[in-house]
Amino acid sequence: MLTLADVHTHYAKSHILHGISLEVQPGEVVGLLGRNGVGKSTTLKSIMGLVRPSQGRITFEGRDITGMASHKVAHLGIAYVPEDRRIFKLLTVMENLRTGLDRGGLTEARRRELLDKVYESFPVLGERKNQLGGTLSGGEQQMLAIARAMMLEPKIILLDEPTEGLMPRMVSQIRDIIARLHGDRVAILLVEQDVGLTLGASSRCYIMEKGLIRHQASSAALKADPSAIHQYMGV
């Protein structure tokens, strides 16, 4: 469904991605592992059209989306939950959700359905729907970031370090959400430092080092033999 072929990305003069190739099938949860600064977030940003690859091709459902404007990428069904969450802090929880809901072709009934579903998955967001996004705790902001992405009814969610800086209780909640999205046949490209969570949630993983994919394997195989993880992540 989503394919990257030999994608190179630069930030100003620094060469971050040195030819990334990967793919995600419909409904599949795929992990993207690696140390800090190897280009995992840049890979997601390149897909989302937030940085323009200098070389290579990104296709989604057979369509070339390399360097496409972000809002058009979002309309195709790719949602993005960034590392720093990027909640609209001065918008209420409800208004944050509306940024994804106020789009063409969505019936009133479907809107209600999507909202009900989110409030069911994240009851705390329902309780705080009239509160400003900036007043939420870190964990609540993370939930709002995921809930906001779900409003787009995406076919795939690019999830960047969802558990970063969260309490263990919240981490298990994130694990449940990923499982639930997977149950709904939403594909996920998951960037995480938490190897245990990633291997548990995904069916396959790519391991990155210095802007390149160094290794790929099924998560079961990596669990059975974590030597690649030790090699590239030093854990």
Partner: protein, 287 residues
Amino acid sequence: MLEQILVQTVNGLVNGMVLALVASGLTLIFGIMDVVNFAHGDLVMLGGFTGAVTVAHTGNFWLGLLVASVVIGLFGALLQITTLRPLIGRDPLTTIIATFGISLVLQKYALWQFGPTAQNIPQPIAGRFELFYLQYPWYRLGAAVMAGAIIGALYLFLKFGKYGIWIRATTQDRVMAAAMGIPVPLVHTGVFAIGAAMAAASGVLFAPLAAVTQTMGFDFTLRAFIVVVVGGMGNLGGSILAALFISLLEAYASLVVSPSQAVIVSFVALILTLLFRPTGLFVPTPK
């Protein structure tokens, strides 16, 4: 003396509301695009002329207000697409130079099209009422109320409208707004058009109080700019309060000095703001 102060309070509030209408467009544009629109006052001027021409042909002031807002709003959209959109994300200096250039072009256009003489729009609301020792024109109050109504409509639109939420989201985080599927380039154009339409409306509302001349724009840009800085760049509520504050200061100052000298207090307020509270007077203290 007390009566004079009260009359000047009314004057200050009336001028303040018209200025607030100009400044809210300017601050909205700055907030979302980081563009200081130095041609904003010239959009006020063009709005005034468009209104004057329409009123001269139809005799209907309200139609003039509507036509000027729509025409200049569309013109603003065109300006944004052709000159500012290509510069988004570049050094702010480039947009300052670009809008300054637009300002010069618009002034010369107005000189060519409408001539060097001032044009007037008759006051649409006749009649005066007694304000202490003065026969105070009802229209002055009417203009302030109209300006307030337009600002109020903008507020409601930003607060509750679908596109209002798009504008606020884009103002806060352009990148994330795009990732949520909001067509950011279109939102930028729309905001510029709204700002231009509001400037044009101020021009029409202001015309019966003074006159429309092709050089009036600079004064409006300058005053609106002072207001936007004093109110906190990009902060709508702050700009409105600052417009009232600055206009009241000038009104009170003109009790003591001549009105043309009273402008000095605005600059003093600007300098003091920049020295002691550069984020703006009417915004919460940044944490």
